[in-house]
Subunit: 465 residues, 4 copies
C-alpha cells in the first residue's frame, strides 16, 4: 500500500475509551491507518489525572519503535492521529493530537478534514487578545470551545461548531470523556466500534479489524457522540450527506468499510464499469499500477474476461530521499519504484489500469518503461473521471495549474502519455459503482460542484509566520 | 519484495570499472540487489591514488541518503556489497567491502558465499604471527593473497584460492583493476555486463537493468576475470556446476536472469508443475502469500485454470521492531503484515501458494487468519520440496532442529497447519522446471547431498571473540 | 567561573537594536552571561518582516556551535536569554526567549526574575478562555499585554504591569522596537550600553565589555526604555530600590558593574571586612574555594597580611553527569572537582574563604579533603551571613528545610563541618562593603525581610501539568 | 587546568590488575589524566575469558557518561588511554587502547610516547605479508610481538623491543597479565601504585591519588614489570635517564609526582629562579596566565616579595568551536577565554608570568588586552627557555617554522609582543629547579641535543592512507 506522492489525505484519527492498554491499542489503530497520513503521528493518553503525549515526524512504526515509549503513555483513554498536512504546513508544533490546558482539564484533539472560514475568524479572536500557538485550523476550534460560556463540554462544542464551516471528522479527549463528531456533510469517514466494553472511534474500519474490535456503525454526519463512564451518548444534528467519492477511488484501504460499504467491493465495480465502458477487444492481458489499482484491475479483468498479470513489481525499499545519477538516466525516479517483468510484457497488447491521474508525469514515465520492456500496445484505463478542480475539504491535490486534466483534453493527454488508447471512467460510471444515490457524494474535484463556499485566502500557507 | 525473516541470502555484490560516477552506479546496483542482504551495505571506490569508503547498518537507501556521501566516494572504480551475515556475525568491523593495505596498494573485497575450511587455516596463519581484524572468512582469503609470493595479483589470487574450499562469488578492487571470480561449483550467481565501455559485475542481472547496462554473460564457475585499462581478461579454471536451486525458488528477483535463465520464467513453471502434481478440482480461487510467491501462484492459476485473486494485502509499513500488545492478541505478528480481504475470501475454497516452508510458524498463523476471514477451505501448495538440511554455502537457514520438515512428515505438517490439504512440489518437479540437466544443481537443503565436505566447527559464531 | 550546584540565578538577558550582526552580538553577550543560567539558551532575531529563533538545552557555546545557525538568525534586532529555571521547570516549551503571535506583530520576551502573584491572575484569565502554552510566569505577562486595550506597545506594557507583582528585569522585542524594563524595586540588575549607534541591554556590564560596547547606565527601577528608529525613549516610574545583595556576594561576575558599582571592588571589601571581623592570628595561609571565592580571599589576604595560596585546583573537565564508584569512595563527588595541592597545605594552619554556605554538604567534604591533605588547622571564613530564608525574587535556593543555617546555630555548623573555627560575615559587615545606603538592598534570604508579599502557592512546580 | 592549544602531550596511560571494579577505577584514573590527551579516550577490560572495549572521541567524562557503559566493561583487569595524536592522526581506528587477537589470547595496548624508526620497519613487515590495521607506531610493536618466536609474553616483548627505537611508556593487558614498560631513557613518566592488593600503573601519580591508591615508585627506564596472580615481577634493563623537562614546565599536573619529585615544588622553584634572574624593581603586582602558570607565578611572587593578584579570569565555558564575529573584533579569540579584571590592573606595572611561549600569537593578543585594561607597564617573565626545536619523543609542537624563538631573537620577540620587558628563564635556571643532575634530562626542544637519532620521514602524517 505505498501511496502516490501527488495526492494526499489529510489525516487518520483514532480514539479509545476505557481500555487498560489504551495507548497500545491506539498505536495499532494508527498503524492500520498509516496510509491516511505518513508525515507525522502522535498519541495522547490520560489516566484521568495527568495526560501523556508522544509525537514525532515519520511513520507510526518508527515513532513508537520502543516499548517504553508506549508504557509511558499511561491511562485508559487515548487518541491518536496520523497526519499529512494541508493547512498548517509541516511544523513540529502542528503535529496532532494537539493538547491545550483549559481551566479545569486538558483537552486533546485529532482532526481529519479542513475548515474553510478560518481566516476571518482567526483575525477576530486575535483582536480580542487570543494568542495562537499553531497555524492549524484545529486550534481555532479549541479557542472557540475554551471561550464558550456554555456549561458542559458537549454544549461548548456545539456552540463552537456554530461558528465554523468545512470538513471535520474529529475525536476529542478530556480527562474523563471521549467525544467524536462529524460535519453535517460527512465529507470524511468516521466510524464507531467496540472492543469488549470499550468504545473506539476510527477513520476507517480496518483499524477496528486490526485491534479485533467490532464495527458498530458510522458516526453520522452532524452527530456528536460522547463516551463516558455511563456509556455512549448520541446527539444528532442536521445532515446533508456529501461523502468524498475519492475515498472509494483511492484513499481508503480496500479491506475497510467506509460510508457503510466495503471499499474492495465498490472499487471492483469501478473496474467492472470501466471494462464495460471501454474494453479493447484484442488486448492480451490486464495489469495494474501497483498497489493502489490492483482491485480495480482485477475487477476489469473479471468483467472483460482478460487475463490479469503482474507486469510491474513495486519496490518497497525506496525511502523518502533517493539520490539520482548526476548524468541523469531517463525516468530513473520511476525505474527505482517499478520493475517491469519482461517475460510478462514482451510482445503483448497490455491494458494498464490506474485509479486516477493527477499530473500525469509519473504515468508518462511508466508507460515509457512498459514500452521499453517490450509491450506491443499500451492502453491506459483510469477508474475515475478527469480531475479538474482543487479540494478544500481535506485532500491535498496540486494546484489547478498542475492538474493535467485542467489543461488538456483526454485526447491531448493520450498524446502526451504517448499510449495507444486512453479512457477515463465516466462520472456516472463512477457513481453507479457505489450503489447509492448519486446526490450523497461530493464530486467537486471532478465536477466543480462545491457543497460549501470557501474563504478566498484559505490555503495551506495562509497562517504561516 | 519484502523478505521472509527465516531464510536469508548472505550477500549481493557489485563492481564497476572505468565510469566517472562509479560510486553512484554502484549505489543503484546495490539498491537493485537489496533483497540479497538487508543488514548492512557499503561502497569502496578509488581514483587510482586514494580509496574512499562508506559503510553502514541498514538499508541501502538509508545508508546513502545524502548526495554528499556519494560525492565523497570519488573515482572511476567502485565495488559494493549488501550483507546478511552468515559467518562473521553482526559486527560493524565485518561490514563489507573489507579494505586492507597491502604493500603497494589497497585491496577492497566483496564476497557472496561461505568458505568451509576456515577454522584450520585461520589457526595456522595465527601461529605464524598473522593478526586478524575481523571474524570473517573473507579476511582469511586476503591474508593468503598478501602472503603469496607470486608476482601478479591474478596469480596471487589463484595461489590463495588453492588453499580454500567453499562457495564464493567475489569482486575485488585494487588501485587499477577490478577482478571477479567464482568457485568451481558456481553455487552463487555472478554475471558480467557492460555500460558503454565500462564493465560491471553483479550478483543478479536486475542490477544491470536498473543502471541500464547490457547483460553479457555469467562469470563461469572456476573463472577469474580481470578488468584493467586494456579491457577484459578471462582466466578459466576447472568447473563442475552445482547451482543453488533456491535462487530460482525464492532468493533471486523475478526480473533477474541467473544461471543463464530468467527467474520469472522458471518460477512460473514451478507453479505450473505444482498445479499438475496436485490441483484441487473444486477450489474457487488461487491466492499467493505476497510478494515472493506471486509468480508461482500466477503459474498455478494459469495451469489449473482457476482464478487468481489478491486475498492478502501485504503491509509494507512494518519496520524492524514492532511492539505487540501486552495482553497479546493471537497471531498479531502476522496480522500487521497481511490484511486478508474479506470480500475475496468469504465462503471460498482457497488454494494458497507458498514458495517454501521453513519453521512453519508464520504459515500456521496465516492460514488461521484466512479461516477467520471466512475461507470455507484452505489448501496449501508449496512450490519446492520439504527443507530438511542446513546450507553451508551461503544461505542462512535456522538450525536443523527448527526446520519443520526435519521433524514432521508432510501429513503431520498438514495437521499442524490445520489446513484442508497440503502438497509440496516434488524434487523432480522442481528440477524439471529449470529446463537444465538435474546434475547442474545443488539440492543439499532438500536432499542432503552436499557437493563439498564441511569443517566440523564452521558455523556462524566460530570466530567470534 | 564554574558555579555552585546549590544556588542558581534564574537568568541572564540581552538585547540589541540596529546592528547588522544582531544575533552574533547577542550570542557573544549570552556567552558572557553564561554564569547566570546554564540550563538552556535561546536567541530570537527579526529583520522587521519575519522573526528567527533558535533555542536549546545546554551551554551557549554548544547550542550555537555552528556558524550556519547564527546566519539563519537574520535581522538587525535580537534578544537572548540564558536560563536556570525557577518557575516553569525544565520543559523545552519554557526555554526563553518566548515568542508569541499578537495580531499585528510577533513579540519575543526574555525575563530575569520571578512574579509572585501569578496563581490568582492565571486562574482568572483561564476562566475567560485564555489558553496557556507554557507554565512560566512570563507568559502571563504576555497575555496581559495581548489583551490590553491600550494603543501603543508601551502603554499596553504599562497596563499589563499594573496587574503583576514581583521581580522582573525584562527585554522585549517587536518587529521594530526593543523595549526593556525593570520592576520598581530593581531586584535584578539590567544595564544599557551603546555599540556605535546601536543600543544594547544586558543583565551585567561584562556582556557589554565582551562585545566592546560602552556602558551607559542602569535601566532604573520602575523605568521603561523603548528603542526604535528614532533612538532611546525613557519612561520613568516610581521606584524604591531593593537590590539583591547576593549579586555582589556570589552571582555576578567580578569584572561586571552592577547596581552602579564594580563587583570585584565590593567583593574584595567583603573579604577585607571579614578579615577585620574574625582573623586568626597564627594562621599560615589564606586559600579560596575556587573560583567564586577568589576575590574575597584575596581581599582577606591583603587586609590580614596573610599569604594567599592556591591550595585547591578546580577541575574544569567535570561534566553534568559523572559516574561514581559503586563501592563508593568517600567524598568522591568533591574529589573529582577539587585537587588539593599537598605541598601548599601540608602542616599549615589554613584560612579557607568561602562566599556562602547553603546546605553545607559540599563544604564538609571539602574541609575533610583539606585535612587529609595534611592541614594542621582549618578555619572557615564566609563572606556573607547565614542563609536562613528562601528567595521569591529569582534565586533558586533549596527549600528552607535544606538550608543548614535554618536548622543549626553557627556553633553547630562548625561542629558539623568539623573545622577548627567558623565565622560568617555580619549583615552590617556585608552591607558596609557596598558603600551604599543599607536600605537600598534586599537581604531577605539572610534577614527574612521580604519587600513584597508572596502568593501562597507560588513555587517552581505550581503550574506543571 | 585548561590547556594550551599549541603544545600537546601525546597521551596518558593507566592500568589496574585484580580489582572487581577495574573499569570504573580506570575511568577515574583517565579522568585524572585528562590534561594529557583530550582528543579521545578508551578503556579495555577483561574477565580472563572475554575482553570488553569502549572508545570515543572527546573528553573522558562525556565518553563514559552513562553507568551502563562502565558496567559492560566487565572484569578485574583493565587498561585505559587518553590520546592526543602525534603519529596516527585522528582516525577512529587509531583510538587507543588498541586490541589485537593473537593466537592464544587478546592483547590490549596503551602507549605514551613516539617510536622513531617505524618507516623502515613497517615496510619490511608488509613485504612479508603483514597487514596493518592502523597507522600508529603502536601497532608495529604488536606485530613484532605476535611474530616473535619466544615463548613467554615477557620474552616476546623484549624480543620485539630490540627492533624499535624511541620513547615509550606502555601498558599492555593480556587475558591474565598486566605489563608495563618504559624505554631506557625514560622520556615519558610512568609510575606504579597499589590499591589494597591491586597494582596500578599510571602516567602521573595524580591518578593514583584520585582512586586513593598508594604511590610506590616509578617504573624505571628500561624496566619491564609484569603483574599476574603471583604478584609483581620486575625485569630491569639498561638505562640512561633522559627525562622530559617539559613535564615539569607545563605538562604534568602540579599535584602529581613525576620522575620522583612533586611537580608543584619544582614549578614553584622555576618561579623563584625566574624572579632571581630578572625581577622588575618597581613593578606593582605579579599575575599569572591562568591556569598553567599559576604555580610559577606564586613562586615568583614569594621570591620577589611582590603581591600576587588574579588579573585574568579564565572562562571555562569555551567549547571546541566558538563562532567569531564576521566583522571581526580584534583579539576576540583571546577575549572569550580571558576576562581581565579592570580593578586589579588599572594603572599598575604588572609582571605577567607565563610557562612557555610557542608561537607567541596568543600571548601578543593577551598583552594587548592587558594594556587595554589599563596596565601602565607589562613585563613578561617566562619560566622556561626559548623553544627552538621540534620534539620527536611524544610532544606535539608546531613545526620549527612556527616556533617564534626559532625565527626571532628575544629582543625581537619583545618588540613583537609590544611589552615593556621580556625575560626567559635560562637553561641552567630551569635545570637547577629540578634539584637533580642536569644530565638526567632531555632538553632537546630548548637546546637541540637529541638523545636518539630520528628516521627522516617520521612525522605525524607518514602512514596515512
Amino acid at each position: 500500500m505505498n501511496r502516490k506522492s501527488s495526492i494526499n489525505e489529510k489525516c487518520g484519527v483514532f480514539g479509545i475509551y476505557g481500555h487498560p492498554e489504551a495507548s497500545t491499542i491506539t498505536y495499532h489503530g494508527l498503524f492500520a491507518l498509516q496510509h491516511r497520513g505518513q508525515e507525522s503521528s502522535g498519541i495522547v493518553s490520560t489516566d484521568g489525572k495527568k495526560s501523556y503525549k508522544h509525537l514525532g515526524m515519520g511513520l507510526v512504526a518508527d515513532i513508537f519503535s520502543n516499548a517504553e515509549t508506549l508504557e509511558q503513555l499511561k491511562g485508559h483513554i487515548a487518541i491518536g492521529h496520523n497526519r499529512y498536512s494541508t493547512t498548517g504546513a509541516s511544523k513540529i508544533a502542528n503535529i496532532q493530537p494537539l493538547v491545550f490546558n483549559l481551566l479545569d482539564y486538558q483537552i486533546a484533539i485529532s482532526h481529519n478534514g479542513n475548515l474553510v472560514n478560518t481566516t476571518s475568524l482567526r483575525k477576530k479572536l486575535m483582536k480580542e487578545g487570543t494568542i495562537f500557538q499553531t497555524t492549524t485550523d484545529t486550534e481555532l476550534l479549541v479557542h472557540l470551545i475554551a471561550r464558550s460560556k456554555e456549561d458542559s463540554i458537549e454544549d461548548k462544542i456545539r456552540d463552537a461548531l456554530s461558528f465554523v464551516k468545512g470538513a471535520y471528522s474529529i475525536v476529542i479527549m478530556t480527562g474523563d470523556k471521549l467525544i467524536a463528531f462529524r460535519d453535517s456533510y460527512g465529507f470524511r469517514p468516521l466510524c464507531v466500534g467496540k472492543l469488549g466494553d470499550n468504545y473506539i472511534f476510527a477513520s476507517e474500519s480496518c483499524a477496528l479489524d486490526l485491534v479485533e474490535a467490532e464495527y458498530l456503525r458510522d458516526v453520522e454526519p452532524g452527530e456528536i457522540i460522547v463516551i463516558d463512564e455511563d456509556g455512549l451518548h448520541s446527539h444528532k444534528g442536521e445532515s446533508t450527506p456529501k461523502y468524498c467519492i475519492f475515498e472509494y477511488v483511492y484513499f481508503s484501504r480496500p479491506d475497510s468499510r467506509v460510508f457503510g460499504e466495503f471499499v474492495d467491493k465498490t472499487r471492483r465495480k469501478l473496474g467492472n464499469n470501466l471494462a464495460d465502458e471501454a474494453d479493447i477487444e484484442d488486448a492480451d492481458i490486464v495489469i495494474s499500477v501497483p498497489d493502489s489499482s490492483n482491485t480495480a484491475a482485477l475487477g476489469y479483468s473479471s468483467q472483460s474476461g482478460k487475463k490479469f498479470e503482474i507486469g510491474l513489481i513495486r519496490n518497497h525499499y525506496v525511502g523518502r530521499t533517493f539520490i539520482n545519477p548526476r548524468q541523469s538516466q531517463r525516468d530513473f525516479s520511476v525505474k527505482i519504484k517499478f520493475n517491469p517483468v519482461g517475460g510478462v510484457l514482451k510482445d503483448k497488447k497490455v491494458i494498464v489500469v490506474e485509479d486516477s491521474i493527477v499530473r500525469g508525469t509519473t504515468l508518462k514515465k511508466l508507460t515509457r518503461l512498459l514500452k521499453k520492456a517490450g509491450c506491443k500496445e499500451v492502453h491506459v484505463r483510469v477508474s475515475s473521471p478527469p480531475i479538474k478542480h482543487p479540494c478544500f475539504y481535506g485532500m491535498d491535490f496540486p494546484t489547478s495549474d498542475e492538474l493535467i486534466a485542467n489543461n488538456m483534453s483526454v485526447e491531448e493527454i493520450k498524446e502526451y502519455l504517448d499510449v495507444d488508447s486512453l479512457h477515463y471512467l465516466s462520472l456516472k460510471g463512477m457513481l453507479d459503482a457505489t450503489g447509492m444515490d448519486h446526490s450523497n457524494f461530493c464530486t467537486a474535484c471532478f465536477s466543480g460542484d462545491y457543497p460549501i463556499k470557501v474563504d478566498k485566502m484559505t490555503n495551506k500557507q495562509s497562517f504561516e509566520s
